[in-house]
């Protein structure tokens, strides 16, 4: 594609967008003012014109896919014949599926917990020192890079060469320095999952920290002062005042990170591609749907399982919202 056709596309697109709003606005004005002789400025039609573009995209690319996934999970390989629960029964008996479930549960327990924990601690410490702002920027930095990029960098942290060779991976270099045997970290079953989780924690701690450090400003200063005058230790203040005060925020962050973890895929793909017992749901889904598998039915079962994982979080959020409305 030449740069000219690209510019032509842009001009065309922008014109189309602007004219959509302009023309619809003009028509609406024309009809309400000239035809009905009334000024319906707050009219619902106008709102729907504004919402329509977003709503159409969301309808086609979010709502429809959810239903389609549910449907496909009850159909065969090509999505043509109804097979009932066959795909689900197959999944339950599949060792990789079980391994994926266990791994995903591990991810769900460990990553949000540790990210939230570190985020809270760092936010609490960083706001008190002169280099806190710098520290926060640095800790937030991993958030900006792609999971694949992170995977590439960390691949070299965990890299392993044969026992006689020079170890180029950072972790092995450290291990050798202290006189231990180098290990092929990402190939040791069970533990390798933890090493992969470290990457995700590395990325998400920044997010948690940023949100916490804003929330911390809301903690009443008088309360902290009073506690200090009464001789409470910093640790005591942290556990008895700050943590209860931030309960709401902690739950929000927990939700965000849990949802991110449920769809964890890029890191696994870049690091191990699910070998050495590091399979997770999203990667299995990708395999069964698009690579080798080519089975939309079985692949959709994995998607459904991921979706089911979100349901409790959704339910809790709706519940919380309803409670807030009551007050």
């Amino acid at each position: 594609m030449t740069i000219f056709s690209f510019i032509a596309y842009i001009v065309l697109g922008v014109t189309a967008c602007i004219s959509y709003y302009h023309i619809s606005n003009y028509l609406l004005d024309f009809f309400t003012k000239k035809v009905f002789k009334k000024n319906y400025n707050d009219s619902a039609i106008r709102a729907f014109i504004f919402i329509a573009p977003a709503f159409i995209v969301l309808l086609v690319f979010i709502l429809y896919p959810v239903f389609e996934t549910v449907r496909l999970s009850f159909f065969d390989k090509f999505g043509r014949e109804f097979v009932g629960l066959d795909n689900y029964i197959w999944a339950i008996n599949d060792p990789q599926f079980r391994r994926g479930i266990i791994n995903n549960l591990g991810w769900l327990l460990i990553v949000p917990t540790l990210s939230t924990f570190f985020g809270l601690i760092i936010a609490n410490l960083a706001d008190r020192i002169w280099w806190g702002a710098i520290a926060k920027s640095i800790i937030f930095m991993p958030m900006a890079i792609s999971f694949v990029g992170a995977g590439v960098i960390w691949k070299f942290v965990y890299d392993y060469r044969g026992p006689g060779d020079e170890q180029i991976g950072f972790l092995n270099a450290v291990v050798v320095f202290f006189g231990f045997e180098p290990q092929a970290w990402i190939t040791i079953p069970v533990w390798n999952n933890l090493f992969l989780m470290v990457i995700m924690i590395w990325i998400q701690t920044g997010l948690a920290m940023v949100i916490f450090s804003a929330a911390l400003r809301g903690v009443p200063k008088e309360m902290l002062e009073a506690a200090r005058i009464d001789g409470a230790s910093e640790l005591k203040i942290f556990t008895s005042i700050i943590v209860p005060y931030l309960e709401q925020t902690i739950l929000v962050i927990w939700t965000i990170i849990t949802i991110l973890v449920l769809k964890i895929f890029d890191i696994i793909l870049a690091m191990t591609n699910g070998q050495w017992q590091t399979e997770v749901m999203a990667n299995l889904m990708f395999d069964w749907m698009f690579r080798g598998g080519g089975d939309s039915g079985r692949g959709s079962v994995f998607a459904i399982v991921i979706m089911i994982g979100v349901v409790p979080i959704m339910a809790w959020n709706i519940y919380k919202h309803k409670q807030e409305q009551k007050i």
Binding site: F50, M141, I145, E166
Partner: protein, 281 residues
């Protein structure tokens, strides 16, 4: 001042210092390695003896990397433009106009924000192939710019952030504008958008990062390399490059650079907006 030198309070800061080191180490490693020779990279030197910028030129010229970077930029820009086009009016309607089922629709959208998008890959693929609905601009969007960008042009999180901001703008402005006979459209265009530039910059940056970092979707719909973005090419590069870590790391730096530059320029705005989201819940 006394407190800092007090041993009881010093330990947490030492821990913090190590966490910072831990956070920055991979970046440091990446940048440092990208300036090394192959030999230095293989031997895990901490710093290169002599900074070799040629690595960057080599990567930039080889493997169509140049084109991929430009592809990524184009994809990201178009996605951002699309998101702004759909989200600003939608957010405005949710914030300012009363219409039937408003809250119902909004909370419905908010809930769907929680569905991990990765499970939608297959249905998206079916749509892009034109098997579900007839598509404008061609029978299939595989290997095309439309296919890469259009599915991401509706973003609920962006609508939500914008709505929160628009709600804070005083109602009196609208009353005054209406007296002068302005419609919602002109009010949005002349008053709301100029007043909301900070948040618009933030959501643009946010969408830009999302689009730039997209991986699974491009990997799926691109069977030829014409529109390859940087993320996909890096993934291919891992397997291709063999022992030349210095080149791989240079490629990584190039792929991360636009994001880091953007991030550093808009850091404060970005952090503040994200934090506000967290507080609102």
């Amino acid at each position: 001042m006394n407190k800092i030198f007090n041993t009881e309070t010093r330990i947490p800061y030492i821990i913090l210092f190590f966490i910072v080191l831990f956070s920055i180490y991979p970046f440091f490693y990446m940048i440092s390695t990208s300036f090394m020779t192959v030999g230095e990279a293989t031997n895990q030197y901490l710093f290169p003896k002599k900074i070799i910028i040629e690595n960057y030129f080599e990567v930039w010229k080889s493997n169509n990397f140049q084109e991929y970077t430009i592809n990524s930029l184009i994809i990201a820009f178009i996605t951002v433009a699309g998101i702004l086009f759909t989200s600003i009016p939608a957010a405005y309607s949710f914030a300012r106009i009363d219409f039937p089922f408003k809250n119902f629709i909004f909370y419905f959208l908010l809930i769907s924000l929680m569905i991990p998008e990765i499970i939608m890959l297959l249905p998206h693929l079916l749509i892009i192939r034109g098997e579900i609905i007839p598509l404008p601009f061609g029978p299939s969007w595989m290997n095309s710019l439309q296919g890469l960008t259009v599915p991401f042009m509706g973003n609920i999180f962006v609508i939500f952030l914008l709505r929160q901001y628009f709600k804070k703008i005083p109602k009196e402005l609208w009353e005054a504008a209406r007296m002068d006979g302005a419609s919602h459209f002109y009010f949005l265009y002349k008053v709301i958008i100029p007043l909301s530039l900070p948040i618009i910059v933030t959501v643009s940056l946010f969408s830009f990062i999302l689009a730039w970092n997209a991986f699974a979707w491009p990997l799926l719909i691109l069977t030829e390399d014409k529109w390859f973005p940087v993320t996909v090419s890096i993934y291919g590069f891992i397997r291709e490059v063999g022992p030349n870590f210095n080149l791989l790391m240079a490629a990584c730096v190039i792929s991360i650079l636009p994001i880091l530059v953007l991030y550093f320029f808009t850091q404060r705005l970005f952090l503040e907006s994200i934090s506000n989201f967290g507080l609102k819940g």
